[in-house]
C-alpha cells in the first residue's frame, strides 16, 4: 500500500526511517548505571560493613560490594554510610483530613489510599530526614479501620506516590470504644472483632482484605496500648492462626515472652523524654526473640523520629544491629515488601540514604537521599558537619 499518510504528507517509505530514530531515542533515555562509593553500608543483618560500592541501574540495586562497572558515573561519599531508606509504619503525613469514621467502628472496606493527599505539606521535611516509605492507615479510633496504603515519599512528579496496598488496620485502644453503640466495652470490642473476622473467614474465596486477614494471608496492624491488649492479640493470633502485629509503646517486660504468636511488636515514638521503663521494651523484646520495629508516627513527632527512636532504644538495651533493622528491614518484612525494599541487596529498589556516620548515631546527618534510584535530596555543601566520631 503505497499511499502516503495524509496527515504527514510524507511518502510512506520515509516512515521506516523514523523507526530506528525513535528506537535510538528511547534507548538513549535508559539511565546509565550509577555508582555510589561509601565508607560503609548497612547490610541485611543491620551491621555496618566497610567499603560499599553500590551500583544502581534504572531503579534497582545491581550490586553492593565489588567493582564499579566501566563507564559508570561514580559518586563518592568518603565519610558516607549507606543505609536503606527508612520506613515509617505509622504515619499520617499524607492524610487528606481524618481517616476515621465517627459513625461506625468497623469500616472493613475502607482503603486509606482514598484519603491520600499527594500535595500534603512537610513531606520534603520527612524526606530530608531519610524517610523514603510511609504507611498511611486509619487512626486508632476504629476497631477495624480498613486497609492501609504504602507510599514512597518521592515519586516521578516529585511528590509522594502510592506504592501499593498495605496491611489491615485494627485497634484495641480505648479510643475505639463508642458511647451509644457497639463496641462500648473492651469485652464487646474483642467479641465484635472475633465475630466479624469469623464471618469473613466463613465466606470462601472472598477477595476482600478482611477475608484475606481472616485466612491468615494479610497481616493486621493492631494498636495495643495496654499489656492486656497485647496478650489478647497474641492469644487470638495463636488460636486463629492470624498474622498480627501489635503496636505497643509502653512497658513490655511482662509481655515479651507471651507475645510469641505475634509477627512483631512495634514500639515508638521514642524520644529523649521517654520513660526509661518504656524505652527498654525494644531491648527486652529482642532478648525474648521477638521481632521489633520502631515507628515514627510522623507528623506527630519530629521528622527524624525514626532515628531518634532507634537511638533511644539502642541506649536502653536494643542491640545496634536490631536498632538499624527496626527502622528498615523489619518494617519492610511486616509490610510484605521485603523483596522490594528495606535492605541494600541486589534486585531491590534503590531506596537509599547516605548518612555521614552510623544511622543510629544522632551526630550523623543526612548527606543524600535516593528513592527508586533517583537522587531526590542532596545536603548543601556549606553545612559544617558536627564532629561525629
Amino acid at each position: 500500500m503505497s499511499t502516503s499518510f495524509p496527515a504527514l504528507g510524507v511518502p510512506r517509505v520515509r516512515h521506516f526511517l523514523l523507526i530506528p530514530i525513535v528506537l535510538a531515542a528511547t534507548t538513549a533515555h535508559a539511565d546509565p548505571p550509577r555508582v555510589l562509593k561509601c565508607r560503609a553500608y548497612v547490610n541485611e543483618a543491620g551491621a555496618l560493613v566497610r567499603d560499599g560500592t553500590i551500583v544502581i541501574e534504572n531503579d534497582r540495586i545491581v550490586s553492593v560490594s565489588g567493582d564499579a562497572p566501566e563507564g559508570a558515573t561514580v559518586e563518592s561519599y568518603e565519610q558516607g554510610v549507606a543505609c536503606p531508606g527508612l520506613i515509617d509504619l505509622d504515619s499520617q503525613l499524607t492524610a487528606a483530613g481524618q481517616l476515621s469514621e465517627a459513625a461506625s467502628a468497623i469500616e472493613a472496606q475502607a482503603f486509606a489510599a482514598d484519603a491520600f493527599n499527594a500535595f500534603a505539606p512537610r513531606i520534603q521535611e520527612a524526606l530530608r530526614a531519610g524517610v523514603t516509605t510511609c504507611v498511611l492507615a486509619a487512626d486508632d479510633r476504629m476497631l477495624i479501620g480498613g486497609r492501609s496504603a504504602v507510599y514512597a515519599t518521592s515519586g516521578p512528579n516529585g511528590g509522594p506516590v502510592l506504592r501499593g496496598p498495605g496491611p489491615l488496620k485494627l485497634s484495641l485502644s480505648p479510643v475505639a470504644l463508642r458511647e451509644s453503640y457497639e463496641p462500648s466495652s473492651r469485652a464487646g470490642a474483642i467479641a465484635l472483632l472475633r465475630r466479624t473476622v469469623e464471618q469473613a473467614r466463613a465466606k470462601q474465596d472472598d477477595p476482600s482484605p478482611l477475608a484475606e486477614f481472616a485466612r491468615g494471608e494479610l497481616p493486621g496492624f493492631a494498636a495495643a496500648p495496654f499489656e492486656a491488649d497485647v496478650l489478647s492479640l497474641a492469644e487470638w493470633a495463636d488460636r486463629e492462626k492470624l498474622k498480627l502485629v501489635a503496636f505497643h509503646n509502653a512497658d513490655a517486660a511482662r509481655i515479651a515472652e507471651a507475645s510469641e504468636p505475634l509477627m512483631a511488636v512495634v514500639v515508638g515514638p521514642l524520644g529523649p523524654n521517654t520513660n526509661p521503663r518504656f524505652a527498654r521494651s525494644a531491648g527486652l523484646l529482642e532478648k525474648a526473640g521477638r521481632k521489633v520495629a520502631i515507628a515514627g508516627t510522623l507528623p506527630f513527632a519530629p521528622a527524624d523520629s525514626l532515628r531518634i527512636g532507634a537511638a533511644v532504644a539502642a541506649r536502653h538495651g536494643l542491640s545496634a544491629e536490631a536498632a538499624r533493622r527496626a527502622i528498615t528491614s523489619v518494617p519492610a518484612e511486616l509490610l510484605g515488601m521485603h523483596a522490594a525494599i528495606g535492605s541494600i541487596q541486589p534486585g531491590k529498589i534503590a531506596d537509599l540514604v547516605i548518612f555521614s556516620g552510623d544511622p543510629i548515631d544522632l551526630r550523623s546527618r543526612v548527606l543524600a537521599v535516593f528513592v527508586g534510584g533517583t537522587c531526590v535530596y542532596r545536603a548543601p555543601e556549606d553545612d559544617e558537619p558536627g564532629d561525629s566520631e
Binding site: 537511638a311 545496634a320 544522632l362
Partner: protein, 475 residues
C-alpha cells in the same frame, strides 16, 4: 668515739623498734580516718571541656577527687574499683528542669520558692536523673504567667548526705511570658504587668531608701532635741511632701500617678507640720515580693524568663534593658529569628530537649526550628540544652542530636557539663572532674554521644548512688 648517752632515764624513752608497731597502728588509724582511697584505672576520661583522655585513672578519697589523669595512681592501700574500658565523665548538669511539684499559682508571688516544693526524698525523680547521668539541676518556680518565684538548684544526692541537697534556694527570679499559647492581647497584658511590677518595685525601693534616710534624720533630730530640751514632743506621723509620691503601699493603686489620698494628708501634714518636734517617718510596708524584684533590679539576681515567641522575646529584652536586668531566655523556640537582638542584649538562651513535632502549630512554639541552636551559636549567643518542661531528659542523647544538626561536638558537651555548672554558679562545688573537686562523676559504657552508650554507675560525693545493673534487677 663518743658514746651518745641519754640524759633522761631509759624507761621514759622506749627504743624505736618498740615504737614501730604503735606508729604503724597510728598511721593506719589515720589513713582509715581519712578514708581509704578509691581508684578506677584504665578508663577514658571525657573532661568538662570536652577532651578525651584514654588510659586514665581516677582517684578519690572520701568525697573529693585526689588525683585524675593518665599519670594518677592510687597508692598501695587504695581500693580498686573495676571500670576498665569505660568512660568516666563529670556528672551532667540540667540547667532547666521543671519539677511537676514546683507549681506556684500565678499571681505575682515573686518571693515564692521552688525550693519549698522540692521533695528531697522523691527517689523516683532522683533515679531518673541519675539514669541519664544528671547530678544537679536548676528547678524554676513555675506559674501560668507572670512572676513565678525563686528558682532553686538541686543536687541529686542521697537525702542523708551531709552536704545539703539544695545548693541554692534563690538562684534566679522566674517569669513566664506567653508560653501557654495565649492570644496576643493576653500576652500584651502579661508584658505590661511585668513592666509595672518592676517599676513599682523600683519605686518601692526608692521609698524604702528615702525612709531609711528620713529615719536617720529623724533620729538625729531626736538626739538634738533631747540634748537641747529635756522634754521632747511625742513624735507624730508624716513627714510631708514625699509621702504623697510613695506608690509602694500594699493595696495601693497600680497607677503611680494616682495620688488621691495625698492632698488631704498633705493638708493635714502641713497643718501639723507647724507643730514642734521631728516627726517619725512612716515605714513603707515590707513586701517580700517587691524585695525579690529589687534584688533583680540591683543585679544581685538573674531574671529567667520562659518565653517562646520572637515578638515576646524582643519585648522582654526591652524590659530588661529598661530596668538593667540580667536576663536568661528559656524555651525560646523563636529565638533564632531575633538572634542579633539577643546577642546585643548579652542574654543567654536555654533550649529544651523535647523536639517539636512536624505539625503546623498555632501555639507559642510554632517558630521552633531544628537548627535553632546552631543559628543562635553562629550569631554569637550562648545556648544551653536542658530538659525543660519535662524533667529527666536524656541530655546526652539530645546533645548528640544537636551535634548532628550542626553544633560543634565539644561545645555541645561543655554546655551540659562544665559550662553548665559555671552558668548556674556551682562550678566551685561540682561539675568539673579535677583534683580537689567533689567526687561527682558518671561511668558510661561508651562515649556519652555514641549510639548505645549507657550510664552504668553514678558517684556523688565519692559514694556510688546509682548502679544500672542493680536498678534493673530491682524492677
Amino acid at each position: 668515739m663518743l658514746r651518745h648517752t641519754h640524759a633522761a632515764p631509759r624507761r621514759a624513752r622506749p627504743g624505736l623498734p618498740a615504737l614501730a608497731p604503735l606508729l604503724g597502728l597510728l598511721l593506719t588509724q589515720f589513713a582509715w580516718a581519712q578514708g581509704r582511697a578509691n581508684v578506677m584505672e584504665k578508663v577514658t576520661l571525657v573532661t568538662a571541656d570536652g577532651r578525651e583522655i584514654p588510659r586514665s585513672t581516677v582517684v578519690w578519697t572520701g568525697g573529693k577527687i585526689t588525683a585524675v589523669g593518665p599519670k594518677a595512681s592510687g597508692g598501695f592501700l587504695s581500693r580498686k574499683i573495676d571500670a576498665a574500658g569505660k568512660y568516666v565523665t563529670p556528672g551532667l548538669i540540667d540547667v532547666w528542669a521543671m519539677n511537676p511539684l514546683a507549681q506556684i499559682p500565678a499571681g505575682g508571688l515573686a518571693s515564692g520558692r521552688a525550693a519549698d516544693l522540692i521533695d528531697l526524698y522523691a527517689h523516683a525523680d532522683r533515679e531518673l536523673a541519675w539514669r541519664h547521668g544528671i547530678i544537679a539541676a536548676y528547678v524554676p518556680a513555675a506559674a501560668a504567667s507572670g512572676a513565678a518565684g525563686q528558682g532553686a538548684i538541686v543536687r541529686f544526692a542521697t537525702p542523708d548526705d551531709e552536704e545539703s541537697s539544695i545548693l541554692s534556694d534563690s538562684a534566679a527570679l522566674c517569669f513566664v511570658i506567653g508560653a501557654r499559647d495565649e492570644n496576643p492581647l493576653v500576652r500584651v497584658q502579661q508584658l505590661q504587668a511585668m513592666r509595672t511590677a518592676f517599676r513599682e518595685a523600683r519605686d518601692w525601693q526608692h521609698a524604702r531608701e528615702d525612709y531609711e534616710d528620713d529615719l536617720k534624720e529623724y533620729e538625729k533630730k531626736l538626739a538634738e532635741a533631747a540634748k537641747s530640751q529635756p522634754q521632747s514632743q511625742p513624735a507624730s506621723s508624716n513627714v510631708q511632701s514625699r509621702e504623697s509620691t510613695r506608690p509602694g503601699r500594699r493595696g495601693g493603686s497600680r497607677n503611680p500617678g494616682d495620688d488621691k489620698p495625698a492632698p488631704a494628708r498633705q493638708g493635714q501634714a502641713q497643718a501639723r507640720g507647724k507643730q514642734e518636734g521631728p516627726k517619725k517617718p512612716v515605714e513603707p510596708p515590707r513586701d517580700p515580693n517587691k524585695a525579690a524584684l529589687v534584688r533583680a533590679l540591683d543585679g544581685e539576681q538573674r531574671v529567667r524568663v520562659w518565653v517562646e515567641r520572637p515578638e515576646d522575646i524582643l519585648n522582654v529584652l526591652r524590659i530588661a534593658d529598661e530596668f538593667g536586668l540580667a536576663v536568661v531566655l528559656e524555651g525560646a523556640s523563636g529565638a533564632h529569628l531575633v538572634a542579633d537582638a539577643i546577642k546585643a542584649a548579652n542574654a543567654a538562651v536555654v533550649l529544651h530537649a523535647s523536639a517539636r513535632d512536624m505539625q503546623f502549630d498555632a501555639g507559642s512554639r510554632r517558630f521552633d526550628r531544628l537548627d535553632n541552636a546552631t543559628k543562635l551559636e553562629n550569631a554569637g549567643v550562648r545556648v544551653f540544652l536542658a530538659s525543660g518542661p519535662t524533667a529527666g531528659s536524656d541530655l546526652a542523647l539530645a546533645a548528640s542530636r544537636w551535634v548532628g544538626l550542626g553544633m560543634n561536638a565539644r561545645t555541645a558537651w561543655r554546655r551540659i557539663t562544665g559550662e553548665a555548672a559555671e552558668f548556674l554558679g556551682i562550678s566551685k562545688k561540682i561539675g568539673q572532674l579535677e583534683q580537689g573537686d567533689s567526687a561527682d562523676f558518671v561511668v558510661w559504657s561508651a562515649h556519652p554521644f555514641s549510639p548505645g552508650a549507657r550510664v552504668e554507675r553514678v558517684y556523688v560525693a565519692g559514694k556510688e548512688v546509682f548502679n544500672a545493673e542493680s536498678a534493673q534487677e530491682r524492677k
